[in-house]
């Protein structure tokens, strides 16, 4: 009897030693321990054929053998499982390039345009993006630039006929805002403007502007400075400095030229700012009383400010673009950089 058990044990140990993975582990387990056909199970079933007095000892010995087999198998389970999982892994060269999913890019000017609009909406402004084909009246007369005004020289304009033109600035929208909104007015417009400038590195017959108008009771030039500063810091950098100088635009009085500290040299002086430390960035001022009146507003009750700046110019400064024409050529080598 003991021989039989010892032989069984030896056979189990031999088979056990062959286990290399989950498959052979399962085969050994089933060979010895399967409920119906396992070697140990089958031997145990022979118990009832033995004489009664031998049964307890045989049973005990066989049960010990079964416990031993179970214990040994259990020990090996983790290693066998690990070997199985390892076998399932795929082997690849992770240094090969990933799939070339394409990602496009936003146009730098359009992106800035959206950012600017977003900034003003947060400041409580209404975005009014109106038509580019404009009546001469709104582009000039209503802005205190009658026919033959010298200031018109700076804005050589495309005309469609005697009275219609391509707006030469977004300021025309300020007039529409003042005509249609009851104060308090906080309106901003962004869009394309046109001038008869032959295209070169710094000129394009089409470019983009943002124009802002605020009209309320009690608006001061200090308010204009405060809002300008908030806006310029948001668009450029929180650390930039701003300065206002007297300037002339027929539709504002007092008028101002607005400079920011040079973003290339932080105001120390470099070729880009002609060593001055400042870069002229926009024109601003308190809405001219005549403009208020022509727009149907009482200039003794309301005051306001307006300013306008070139979005392309901001992009040129922000990204160091050296030729404005690049914005309108749609060369992917350019666009992909934004």
């Amino acid at each position: 009897m003991n021989d039989l058990i010892e032989k069984l044990r030896q056979r189990f140990e031999e088979d056990f030693a062959t286990i290399t993975g989950m498959e052979s582990w399962k085969a050994v387990r089933d060979k010895y321990l399967a409920r119906e056909s396992g070697v140990i199970t089958t031997e145990l079933k022979k118990l009832r054929d033995l004489p009664k007095d031998q049964r307890p000892a045989f049973g005990q010995a066989m049960n010990q053998l079964r416990a031993l087999a179970e214990e040994r198998l259990q020990e090996k389970y983790a290693a066998a499982k690990a070997a199985e999982l390892t076998a399932k892994q795929r082997h690849i060269d992770v240094t090969r390039p990933g799939f070339p999913f394409a990602l496009g890019s936003a146009h730098p000017i359009k992106k800035l345009q959206a950012e600017i609009e977003q900034a003003f909406v947060k400041l409580g402004f209404q975005v009014m993006n109106l038509h580019e084909i404009e009546k001469e009246y709104y582009n000039f007369e209503a802005l205190n630039m009658p026919r033959n005004h010298p200031a018109r020289d700076a804005q050589d304009t495309f005309y469609l006929d005697e009275t219609m033109l391509l707006r030469s600035h977004c300021t025309s929208v300020d007039v529409h805002a003042m005509e249609t909104i009851l104060p308090p007015i906080r309106a901003v417009t962004t869009g394309k403007v046109y001038r008869r400038d032959p295209a070169d590195a710094t000129h394009s017959p089409m470019f983009h502007q943002v124009d802002v108008v605020v009209v309320e009771e009690g608006i001061t030039m200090g308010d204009m400075k405060g809002m300008l500063e908030a806006f310029l810091k948001q668009i450029f950098h929180p650390n930039i400095q701003m300065r206002l100088r007297p300037g002339f635009f027929p539709f504002v009085e007092p008028g101002a030229e607005v400079d920011i500290s040079c973003i290339f040299c932080s105001g120390k002086g470099c070729p880009k700012c002609k060593q001055s430390g400042w870069i002229e960035i926009l024109g601003a001022g308190m809405v001219h009383p005549k403009v208020l009146r022509m727009s149907g507003l009482d200039d003794s009750r309301y005051s306001g400010f307006a300013w306008g700046l070139g979005i392309d110019r901001v992009a040129i400064l922000k990204y160091g673009v050296d030729d404005i024409r690049l914005f309108f050529e749609n060369d992917l080598r350019f666009l992909k950089q934004f």
């Binding site: 409580g124 469609l160 009690g218 030039m221 009383p289």
Partner: protein
Amino acid sequence: MKISLEWLQEYVEIKESPEKLKEDLSMIGLLVETIAEAPGTSVLEVEVTSNRPDCLSYIGIAREVAALYRRPLKRPPQQEHLHAASERIPYRIEVRDEDLCPRYVALVLDGIRVGASPAWMHRRLEAAGMRPVNNIVDITNYVLLEMGHPLHAFDFDLLRGGKIVVSRARPGELMETLDGVQRELDGEMLLINDGEGSVGIAGVMGGLNSEISLSTTRVLLESAYFNPTSVRRTSKKLGLSTEASYRFERGADWENTVPAIARSCYLIEQLAGGSIAGSLQDVYPGRKEPAKIRLRQKNASALLGVELSGEFIESTLRRLEFAVEACGKDTWNVTCPTYRADMELEADLIEELARFYGYQNIPATLPPSKGVGSHSPVYGIEQAVREILIGQGYSEAVNLSFALEPDHADFAPLHGERIAIKNPLTEDTQYMRTALAPGLVRSAKRNFNYDQHLVRLFEIGKVYGAGPDGSPVERNVLGILGTGGFTDQNWVNPAAEYNFFHLKGVLAALLNGIRIRSFEIVPTDEVGWLNSSESAVLKINGEAVGVLGAVSVPLDEKYKLRQPVYLAEIDFERLLPVAFSPISYEPLAKYPSVKRDMSIVVDRDLAYQNIRQGILELAIPELTELDLIDIYEGEKIPAGKLSMTLRLTFQDREKTLTVDRVQGFIDTVLSYLSNTFKAGLRSL
């Protein structure tokens, strides 16, 4: 205006360095662009805005410097007595068109020796950018620069009638100006005549016939005030801008006419040896009054946002030579100098106060918010479209809004006439674009030229046309362009060429992304610039809102594209009312769905849309999805046929579907396909 510091010192003391002066002038509105070094002096390039003609002179700049540094202004010597001891040369001044010439002052000198002007004058004129000619011409130029008032000297012996007549030209009249150009005049241009004919264009340029020469001994000096609008119109029309016209059109000082002539007389007597032979004549029929403006301290403080003292207001204005007279509490009547053509309203005076208070000293404040901001109506959809397309690999383009002559015919839009520009710059700016397609195609071509053949672009921009009543209409349009490989060549998947279905797919993804749920893309052959067999119309609620397809073969050749280019052009504004349909949550199905694939063999030219439409019209409620997952054409099926593999997804929201029910649905579909299209299952 070029300002030499050596010369400027003549009128005001300057202790500051050129750099300091540059900074200080800029901060009171006289922007100094650069400082140049000239022999013995520094020259400031001062940018004078068009509202300040008074600063187009040395005295004008000196006046600002004097006011800024609180120093006295030194005026140059002039001849105080402008009368001839005996009228050796009688002459007559006749102003016929007073509206264009409110004041005309003249003086005649004789005994003049024309020659070179002295070295110091040469140096100063050259530093200011002027070319010396002879002492008489140089003196008029010198006084122009010094005092800002344009003068003209005629050779009196060349004035044929011995008189000056100021009147409008005869239409079509010809005259040769000092620059030797023959000019044709119109009836609105003001001329200076000598009784026989024209000798100068008023305020613009003198005539060659009365030019000062080395033999000149007798001179008539003119110092006039001409109507600014008239001078500007004449100058523009003739395309002739001069130092004189530049000042007259911005507004000269009518009170400066006599001082300017007195100063010139002094210099001529000193440098050219002449003396007065015909007394000063001053034709000044209607006296022009200086501007008078009421200024209130309260208004000034309110507009600037700073408290200004009465003392500051009075002293600032007085330093700038305004006459200030108190009238009531904190209110003044201010009489403006006549050289300040820009003074009209209280706000103009307030700007003077702000200039000298210093813009930099006004504290920045923020007005309290009065409401909630709002975006433009297209903002939301534009941003969404931009994000989706960028995510799909398309880059945003911006093309100029102009169009070339052939664009309209090549890329005929769905509707409308084009708008022409009356004064185009070049042939590139003759028309406003009626479609985005031409610009996008040219952009693609540009990229091809730089060896970039995989191009994905989109543009959201306006197109322009004439409305039914002829008035201009602007519409926002979305253009999408795709060409080249579907992806860059890569090792993961074999290269595929971009085709119609990529464009159609991105359009469908875009419409889904902006929650436009129901749309149709139906074949069309009506778009001339697209291949008729590769083009479709996008319809929403039965209405055409855009087109998509492959650029036609003739255009392909014309633009030398050499690779298929796919384009979509969508009327952006028509998407607005249907985009962003409300989101309504549908509970998730509790029971599993069943998918079945079937390969059917049909005639090659049967459109998939017919099959799909027909199956959907069977109205099997459990059929939730129908997809075309494969197409096969080849040896394994009869010629003229193709095999489509359809994937049908069934779902019953109430209970689990049984195999028998699904088979029932499949049988229904198959018998429909067989009866309607003679389609049979493909035998494997």
